[in-house]
């Protein structure tokens, strides 16, 4: 395998990590919507950290390796229309996913506060935070952007 092949393989592994992390985060976002107990909220957020980690590692790796690949391969160029579209969509996804993390961090903070004040029972306030529509909206925007990147990468309009 040449350097190009390795960069390509790692680019795809990074993409799989990112999209896999996103799929995983959706599973926890959906599961969190019915949760109102602080201990379960904290446990779910602990598990969701794996998804967050995958997204945090995947996002910069995929763009870095993708640009490197476009420089290495003569038939691909970072200034081609489809490549620029992918970079713009990546920026939108990165911004939306960061904003979504901030929203969901609020419920984790609240759960910690409740646990600290020894309120272990169901909390309507916590349930409302777990069902945050802003967080859900930003997560949906990030996911839509990532899906569009995958479609753009496969169909390569104009290439």
């Amino acid at each position: 395998m040449s350097l190009q092949d390795w960069v390509f393989a790692l680019h795809l592994v990074a993409a799989a990590t990112l999209v896999g992390g996103l799929v995983m985060s959706w599973i926890f976002v959906v599961a969190l919507r019915t949760v109102e107990e602080p201990d379960l909220t904290l446990n779910l957020s602990r598990v969701a950290m794996v998804a967050t980690g995958a997204i945090v590692v995947g996002l910069p790796s995929v763009i870095g390796l993708g640009i490197w690949l476009a420089i290495l391969r003569p038939q691909l160029r970072p200034w081609h229309g489809w490549a620029i579209a992918a970079i713009v969509l990546w920026a939108i996804a990165a911004a939306a996913v960061s904003r979504s993390f901030i929203e969901y961090a609020k419920s984790t903070r609240k759960a910690r506060e409740l646990m600290a004040s020894r309120q272990f029972g169901p909390s309507s306030e916590l349930r409302a935070l777990n069902r945050t529509s802003t967080g859900l909206l930003f997560r949906a925007v990030a996911s839509a952007a990532i899906v569009l990147i995958v479609v753009d990468m496969i169909y390569k309009p104009g290439a």
Partner: protein, 257 residues
């Protein structure tokens, strides 16, 4: 796979294959994490199992079906034996088929675990076994992504530009022009003995040229490669081994007298 430019008509199966694979991978990671962090919490154990059942299973099925679609669309089933047994393709089949069976077994064990959990007879141990199975499958998945994209065993674009060159004068020289997606050969018939193929890529994407069990390295646009092959009298199938290219038209038959 993503960074490649493919013949028309293969994009949809590739998209579905990738969507299925990433759904399966995300579900596997979710399942492993939920069971690992459950610490006996039933809802998390259930979440781990249902991630496998409701996310990984449909994702795996989509990946597998779209993979078969790509296999037939790219014409792998119509290629000579040694070409359709590429290492990277075999790795894909091992992961898709054998780990698929392991996945079904994992799902069954997890299902029994969930049933026992519901009826208050334990089940945590079975769900931990499910988690171990999911970890093995997730690791296999990473190997498959590497194999599908890096394609170990295939000639590399960055490899040496000339292969098969031997001393002595060839019995014939054939100039081959590769474009998307066809080969144009300067002659369709050659005398038996050593034949020199001079392959020029006038297309926009990389191609190779394979005949008589020998293959040039991947030739990037505008570049050339030479391949010397000793051919006995008969008919020889030639093709581009880049997935999908032969099926799109980059193949033919050379007669050796």
């Amino acid at each position: 796979m993503l960074a490649a430019i493919r013949p028309a008509g293969q994009d949809l199966p590739v998209l579905l294959h990738i969507v299925g694979a990433t759904l399966a991978f995300g579900g596997l990671l979710a399942s492993v994490s939920a069971i690992a962090f459950a610490r006996g919490q039933v809802r998390l154990l259930r979440l781990g199992y249902f991630s496998l059942l409701l996310v990984v299973l449909p994702g795996w099925a989509l990946m597998w079906l779209a993979g078969e679609w790509i296999y037939h669309k790219q014409g792998w089933n119509g290629l000579p034996g040694q070409l359709k047994h590429e290492t990277w393709l075999q790795i894909g089949f091992v992961v898709g088929d054998y780990l698929g069976l392991l996945f079904l077994l994992t799902l069954l064990i997890g299902g029994i675990g969930i049933f026992r959990l519901r009826s208050g007879k334990g089940g945590t141990g079975l769900l931990n076994a499910t988690m171990v199975g999911a970890v093995v499958i997730a690791l296999g998945y990473v190997v498959a992504v590497w194999a599908m994209t890096g394609k170990p065993g295939q000639p590399s674009a960055a490899a040496a530009p000339v292969s098969g060159a031997q001393a002595g004068t060839p019995a014939a020289t054939v100039n081959v022009v590769a474009t998307e997606f066809k080969f144009t050969l300067s002659r369709q018939q050659v005398p038996n003995g050593r034949v020199l193929f001079t392959v020029v890529n006038r297309g926009k994407i990389a191609h190779d040229f394979s005949i008589g069990g020998r293959t040039t390295p991947l030739i990037t646009p505008g570049k050339r490669a030479e391949l010397t092959v000793t051919l006995a009298a008969g008919r020889f199938f030639y093709l581009c081994t880049v997935p999908g290219h032969a099926n799109a038209g980059m193949k033919g038959m050379l007669t050796v007298k």
